[in-house]
């Protein structure tokens, strides 16, 4: 097969980027999208040109490193599939593929198809954990977790943190990502003690990062390689709402002027207060 790849090239954040079109010959239908890029890059290097920079690691759809838009769809046309697992047999001979990096204010570009997703790590640092230090745990089987709850928690916990949800969302909202972690930990009995403060802190951080608000469009779950269900956003909203009431004595509310991406208020929790 022969394919035309129209790829966004940008040397760094401070330099203007542009699309460059390449032709790749002898594309084997069993190749993955990234293997096709490898072939292109080998060719570019041999011709003395700069290869296309793209993020990748495991190449088996679990690490969340890879990801870009293919013809406007995050991770390409196949549902529940990352670009590293997308085989070229899903494209036609002579087809043009437009490859673009994730576009969101909260994901500043680094180079070509690579963006900075540290906002996700900061959201997790704000509360995406259960506070148990090593060595303090009781015997594992003393915590009963109903099978259905374990399964639903696993469905939410399967998020790989790739950012496709943000890229697909017209608002560049991180609600699916943040909701997935809040739902995973909130369903389990272990996560209950911190359920409210977790939601308040993580949502606050999410807003601070510059992601947009969620208006229930649903593009996110449509492109998610792990098919994280939209219900996790409902779980997040519910925990946040309940937390706004239950944690009210510990919240310091500051009213800020309206910006285009926030609801206008920022909530801060006193980390040393108990509920």
């Amino acid at each position: 097969m022969r394919l035309r790849l129209k790829i966004w090239r940008q040397k760094s954040r401070s330099v203007t980027g542009k699309f460059v079109t390449y032709s790749v010959e002898n594309v084997n239908p069993d190749m993955s999208m990234l293997e096709c890029l490898d072939v292109l890059n080998e060719d570019l290097i041999e011709r003395g040109e700069e290869p296309v920079a793209f993020e990748h690691d495991c190449r088996e759809g679990i690490c969340g490193s890879c990801g870009f838009m293919i013809n406007g769809i995050a991770h390409g046309p196949l549902p529940a599939t990352t670009v590293c697992q997308l085989t070229m047999r899903h494209f036609k001979d002579g087809e043009q593929l437009i490859l673009e990096p994730w576009r969101a204010r909260a994901f500043p570009l680094i180079k070509d198809l690579i963006v900075d997703r540290r906002a996700f790590d900061r959201i997790i640092a704000a509360g995406g954990y259960i506070s148990v230090s090593t060595g303090s745990a009781q015997d594992a089987n003393t915590i009963l977790v109903p099978k259905e709850a374990a399964d639903r928690a696993m469905d939410a916990a399967a998020c790989i943190g790739c950012g496709a949800c943000v890229a697909a969302c017209p608002n560049a909202s991180a609600a699916l990502f943040t909701g997935a972690k809040i739902a995973h930990l909130g369903i389990l009995p272990q996560g209950k003690p911190e359920q409210n403060r977790r939601a308040i802190r993580m949502v606050t951080q999410m807003n601070e990062e510059g992601f947009g608000g969620c208006t229930n469009i649903g593009e996110c779950t449509g492109v998610c390689p792990k098919e994280i269900p939209l219900e996790v956003i409902a779980a997040m909203n519910r925990d946040y709402f309940r937390g706004s009431w239950r944690e009210r004595d510990n919240i310091v509310t500051t009213i800020r002027p309206f910006t285009e991406w926030s609801t206008g208020s920022k909530l801060q929790i006193d980390p040393h207060a108990s509920s």
Partner: protein, 637 residues
């Protein structure tokens, strides 16, 4: 060199408790005065970083990916072992210890393995408390399954994504410490050298992978948790970025490298489909719980599998090993797959494949149960091969997966460079010559959560560490070495890409130092590797510059290290005139093709010391004694 494992005295079940009492402690108020560097953020690295931060130390953690959650531990599929005996089928700490020593073909240190089994139970407790969503039974209790090399059900799992969930638990704990201010995370930062001052590890030299900036970081101790070196074979189940650079550079600074030729080949991976193939995809060993492995009885039988009747199928593992059947350890399963394919009975277009068939299990348990147990694995298989494992058997073939070898460490997980600790797959300990399934996750977390936080405290409380000046000559020397190598790689501007050299190197080591080895083959390999290495330094083409994001430059340094490591692997394999576990020398096998050990002459850990570029390394031996598990010919029949 005299290798002292510093194993505590006394009965094996008391050694670790005794050590914990005898080790010196760092006063809680003093912990914040100490700084510790952790390189690598996988299971071992993240758990160590989190635990050390929780204890109050100042920790700096480094990873080359954009986030600690990308570490390749995330891809581990099948499960984690622990001696809980929740299934009441005869498991115990002693049995897990025994199975692991036997599975390692009697080439590991007994005391380390016992401790691993002892700690395994605490790991599950910690993970559950963190919210790892392990599979549950209807009553709300934890579920278990069996893994290779064991006749008990001791493996805890989360679908086919156990590694992911365990790593996320550790990653979340790490981020909690970032929020608490005890841990600083340095993503997109690669360690390129170790700083040794007054014979102690005092820091690292790093390169910022976005700006190219070379930096130094000084600490009181350094922990390497950088994973295995399977990518020396180019095609492996490792992530593309997995590399040996951190441990190799530390090796060149004095850390001995143990048993490099003990590389594990996993029997069930998706076969290669083309020359552009960038990596091999693992199909979890847990599938062997329910799948049955077979090839046609007839050589050259190219009929579609569903057209081959039962009596014309050879379920060769069940035939040869009635007790363990499809659950024989990985080295046994891999070698058997190779035998049947060498005989011309392999399946698939290349003839390099065997069937892993779920038809019986689907009929017995129902499709829904199989979906619950392996759902994501079946989907992954179908995505890659376009074949549906619910309808036709999976095609699988062995592939490089794990490395038992690594930097030598003593009982305290400290290398031969004082202050340099090595944990997880990066060290050599615990698995001997063959690792059992579901025990890598166990070892990484055991080392990171429950061992190194104590042993590093002992080191810090015992040593008097002077502050180090930023302009210390050792630091400037290390930085100069890194800068020199970086510029050299860029200056060559040859004609062949890094990947093209890497692929060729991988073929050499797979052919001569893979599933089975001969003295002649290894000697050929050593010559071919040396020649290819010379060619590399004359003809490699690394585009771009050092001062921005340059993925080719990153690869170039790692492949340069792989050349040297590949040679050492072959030298080590040549030196070990016996077969044990994953190291199979064709000259040393039993009548029915099993590994034949030579305990009289080779019951030792082979630890190699670097003696300069291009020079033969120097061998030291740590003798292994087995007081509790008596070495016998491993039989899984």
């Amino acid at each position: 060199m005299e290798l002292d494992a510093r194993t505590p005295a006394g009965p094996i079940e008391q050694k670790w408790d005794r050590a914990r009492f005898e080790m010196k402690l760092v006063n809680p108020a003093n912990k914040r005065k100490h700084s510790i560097i952790v390189v690598g953020s996988g299971l071992a690295g993240a758990s160590a970083t989190a635990s050390l931060g929780e204890l109050g130390y100042n920790v700096k953690c480094f990873c080359f990916q954009d986030s600690p959650r990308r570490a390749h531990s995330i891809a581990a599929q099948g499960g984690i072992n622990a001696a809980k005996n929740y299934q009441n089928d005869g498991d115990s700490v002693y049995r897990l210890f025994y199975d692991t020593v036997k599975g390692g073909d009697f080439r590991s240190r007994e005391a380390n393995v016992y401790r691993l089994a002892q700690i395994s139970v605490h790991i599950i407790d910690q993970c559950v408390a963190q919210g790892v969503p392990f599979a549950r039974e209807y009553g709300g209790l934890l579920a278990n399954r069996s893994f290779g090399g064991a006749q008990v059900s001791r493996t805890f799992y989360a679908r086919g994504q156990t590694g992911q969930q365990l790593l996320l638990g550790a990653y979340q704990a790490l981020e909690r410490q970032v929020d608490a201010g005890t841990v600083t995370m340095f993503p997109r930062t690669e360690m390129l050298d170790l700083i040794v001052i007054d014979d102690r590890a005092r820091g690292i030299v790093t390169r910022n992978l976005v700006t190219g900036e070379i930096d130094t970081h000084i600490a009181d101790a350094v922990i390497l948790a950088t994973g295995g070196y399977g990518n020396v074979y180019y095609l492996s189940t490792n992530a593309k970025g997995s590399n040996a650079t951190a441990i190799w550079r530390a090796h060149k600074r004095g850390a001995l490298f143990a048993n490099p030729c003990f590389t594990q080949i996993h029997p069930t991976c998706i076969p290669v489909s083309g020359h552009y193939q960038s990596k091999l995809t693992l199909m979890s060993e847990s599938l062997r719980n329910d799948g049955r492995i077979w090839v046609p009885k007839q050589k050259g039988d190219k009929r579609p599998p569903n057209q081959i009747p039962e009596d014309e199928r050879d379920y060769y593992l069940e035939r040869r090993y009635p007790s363990f059947g499809n659950l024989v350890p990985r080295d046994v399963a891999s070698r058997n797959a190779k035998y049947v394919c060498d005989q011309g009975r392999g399946v698939g277009e290349t003839g390099l494949g065997v069937y892993l068939d779920f038809a019986d299990a689907i009929q017995r348990l129902g499709r829904k149960t199989i979906e619950e147990r392996y759902g994501n694995l079946f989907e992954m298989y179908e995505r890659i091969t376009d074949e549906d494992p619910y309808q036709v058997p999976m095609r699988i073939y062995p592939a490089i997966h794990y490395t038992m070898g690594g930097l030598w460490v003593d009982y305290y997980l400290m290398s031969t460079v004082p202050g340099l600790f090595v944990i997880g797959e990066a060290n050599f300990s615990d698995h001997g010559a063959n690792r059992l399934g579901a025990s890598a996750l166990m070892q990484g977390l055991s080392d990171g959560y429950f061992i190194v936080p104590y042993t590093i405290g002992n080191y810090l409380a015992t040593e008097k560490l002077e502050p180090v000046s930023e302009v210390h000559p050792e630091i400037r020397n290390a930085v100069a070495c890194v800068e020199q190598m970086t510029h050299k790689l860029l200056a060559i501007r040859g004609k062949r890409t890094v990947d093209s050299f890497h692929r060729e190197l991988g073929k050499i080591v797979w052919e001569y130092c893979g599933m089975s080895r001969t003295a002649q083959g290894l000697e050929t390999a050593i010559d071919e590797i040396r020649d290819l290495r010379e060619e590399y330094w004359q003809d490699v083409l690394v585009p771009g510059s050092a001062n921005d994001l340059n993925q080719s430059l990153e690869k170039a340094g790692r492949v340069a290290d792989f050349f040297e490591l590949a040679e050492l692997m072959c030298v080590d394999a040549l030196e070990r005139d016996e077969s044990c576990g994953a190291h199979f020398r064709e000259e040393y096998q039993t009548g029915d093709g099993e590994a034949q050990r030579d305990d009289e002459h080779y019951s030792y850990v082979a630890a190699w010391a670097y003696r300069g570029y291009g020079n033969r390394e120097e061998l030291s031996k740590e003798p292994l004694e087995f007081e509790y598990v008596h070495p016998s010919q491993r039989s899984y029949k």
